[in-house]
């Protein structure tokens, strides 16, 4: 089997030695995995919110941007005031990013979202408006220029297990963050009291209230949690990209695609969707080109959704 595929590959890339090819293919495999972790990080927060209250948060990308700016501020502060600790500012930045996005999410729920439950189209519009307000605020406060956080050395460069084989450290870092975050959320969802409240509320909101669960607070905290997770994603993305007031809007389409494809709100579905889309995207890009890969992936997703409008993993819970 390996021999055959090796032969096929050699036919395709005949001009290369097997060693060369092997190295690039390993790196390419990692490129797919790291795109998967990016998609997963992007989509987690939105999936949590959508799964809990059927609210699509169009300002999701801006919460990521908020987390990213929080990271820039942390990097600046630690560079200026605590250069000795600069090496380790990143974990702190991640917590700050989570906190900032969580608190803002909480306030947004109180001031906007809670008036719009049961009016899905209005939440769409309201959160879209919110995204524009946030973008403008970023522009006013931080300026329109692209910025980026200064990375500590340990987050840069690559790990070289063999000659010519470079595994990007920021890619491994992203993978680690997304795995840990997903695990933390899952464990919290299935083994904590807060998680039990969330699950009961999702399954039967009225009944959850009638057994004594504060469903409104549960909604509020879940919304804030989803926003906080978006903030962590934004923080993590400063290791690979830049930050600008509109950076978030670049992520929203992919995020949306992953969440809807995965079955809108189930975490398992989100993981599967992120994996599928990321692999398809990176393999197609390798064989064809970036733009074509995007086109084919979008077409495939639309096609699947036409056959299965409920997404890959439909929630089995009746409303």
């Amino acid at each position: 089997m390996t021999k055959i595929s090796a032969a096929i590959l050699l036919a395709m890339f005949g001009a290369y030695t097997w060693d060369e090819l092997q190295v690039v293919l390993i790196m390419q495999g990692f490129a797919g995995i790291s795109l998967f972790s990016i998609f997963l990080l992007m989509a987690l927060g939105m999936a949590i919110i959508f799964g809990q209250m059927k609210v699509i948060n169009m300002a999701h990308g801006e919460f990521m941007t908020l987390g990213a700016y929080a990271t820039v501020v942390c990097s600046y502060l630690s560079e200026t005031y605590a250069p000795g600790l600069f090496h380790w500012y990143f974990p702190v930045a991640m917590i700050v990013a989570f906190g900032a996005a969580f608190v803002l999410g909480f306030l947004v729920e109180i001031s906007i979202i809670r008036f719009l439950y049961k009016r899905p189209l209005d939440t769409l519009l309201a959160t879209w408006g919110l995204s524009m307000i946030m973008q403008e605020t970023f522009r006013q406060v931080a300026g329109a220029r692209e910025t980026s956080a200064t990375m500590p050395d340990w987050l840069m460069g690559s790990w070289q297990p063999a000659e010519g084989l470079d595994i990007p450290i920021n890619g491994m870092f992203l993978l680690g963050v997304s795995v840990l975050l997903t695990a933390a959320i899952t464990i919290n969802m299935y083994y904590s009291r807060a998680g039990l409240r969330v699950r009961a509320t999702v399954m039967n909101r009225d009944m959850a209230g009638a057994v004594g669960i504060n469903t409104r607070l549960t909604d509020r905290l879940t919304f804030a949690l989803g926003c906080g997770v978006a903030g962590v994603a934004g923080c993590a993305f400063t290791t690979v990209g830049s930050i600008s007031p509109t950076a978030g809007s670049q992520y929203i389409v992919d995020t949306f695609m992953v969440v809807v494809f995965g079955g809108a709100g189930s975490i398992v579905g989100t993981i599967i969707a992120a994996f599928t889309i990321a692999q398809a995207q990176s393999i197609l890009e390798f064989l064809l080109s970036g733009v074509l890969a995007k086109v084919f992936v979008l077409l495939a997703v639309v096609g699947v959704l036409m056959i299965r409008p409920q997404g890959l993993i439909a929630s089995k819970i009746r409303k």
Binding site: L196, R199, G209, A210, G212, I213
Partner: protein
């Protein structure tokens, strides 16, 4: 212990409960009887807060809860076993019970729960949705009781349960009443079951009380007439 005064409930324009008043003394069991569609469930849901009343007051142990959210009413001392049980089907039996602990003083499942409902102990880790109707009924009662309510509201607990088990439910309820020091409001259509647990019966028709009897002087024939179509 529970006092309902001038309660009006409606769905949009159609008024279902009209100016209804009654009160229940401590440790009393009041049965609310009425044919299908007469407003029993609507009354129960408005007491627990799943539906907001238009006007009127609902007082639990001296506290007016009519404007509160459901969970606050649970905190104030109401427990609710809905019609059709409404178990969280994807949660395990144990998790279902734990949902009732939110407002409880002690946040763990105490021994009496599984002692009273041994079958729930056996099925602890099964999904709630996989239980039989009778088992689900026990689960729904356990879930409502772990919050330590003063007043237990039961909406048609015998619906869809075979006659032989109905007697068991009556016995369990009477036992629990004593054990947990409960006041009970139960809506029913099955007279024989009602007579085994109730101290007093009221009959509602189109959302208003049309008849009332203490247990001691129930005229079964009259009540049956109200219940037949």
């Amino acid at each position: 212990m529970l006092e309902v005064k001038n309660l009006c409930v409606s769905y949009g324009e159609s008024i279902i409960i009209r100016d209804l008043s009654f009160s229940v003394a401590k440790n009393e069991t009041l049965a609310i009887m009425g044919r299908n569609g007469m407003g029993k469930t609507t009354l129960m849901k408005s007491m627990i807060g799943m539906i907001r009343a238009r006007s009127g007051s609902i007082t639990v142990d001296g506290k007016d809860v009519a404007k509160l959210d459901s969970f606050q009413r649970v905190k104030a001392g109401l427990g609710f076993v809905p019609q059709g049980r409404q178990i969280f089907s994807a949660l395990t039996v144990e998790e279902n019970i734990r949902t009732g602990l939110e407002t409880a003083k002690v946040r763990k499942i105490e021994d009496w729960v599984y002692k009273t409902f041994p079958v729930l102990d056996e099925m602890k880790n099964r999904k709630g949705g996989n239980l039989s109707g009778g088992q689900q009924q026990q689960l729904a009662i356990a879930r409502a009781l772990v919050s330590g309510p003063k007043v237990l509201l039961l909406d048609e607990p015998t619906e869809g349960i075979q006659p032989s088990i109905i007697k068991d439910i009556a016995r369990t309820l009477n036992e629990l009443k004593r054990l947990r020091d409960l006041t009970v409001v139960v809506s029913e259509q099955v007279l024989s079951f009602t007579l085994e647990i109730a101290d007093r019966l009221i009959v509602i028709e189109s959302g208003a009380i049309v008849h009332e009897d203490p247990r001691s002087s129930v005229d079964e024939a009259v009540i049956s007439r109200y219940l037949s179509v």
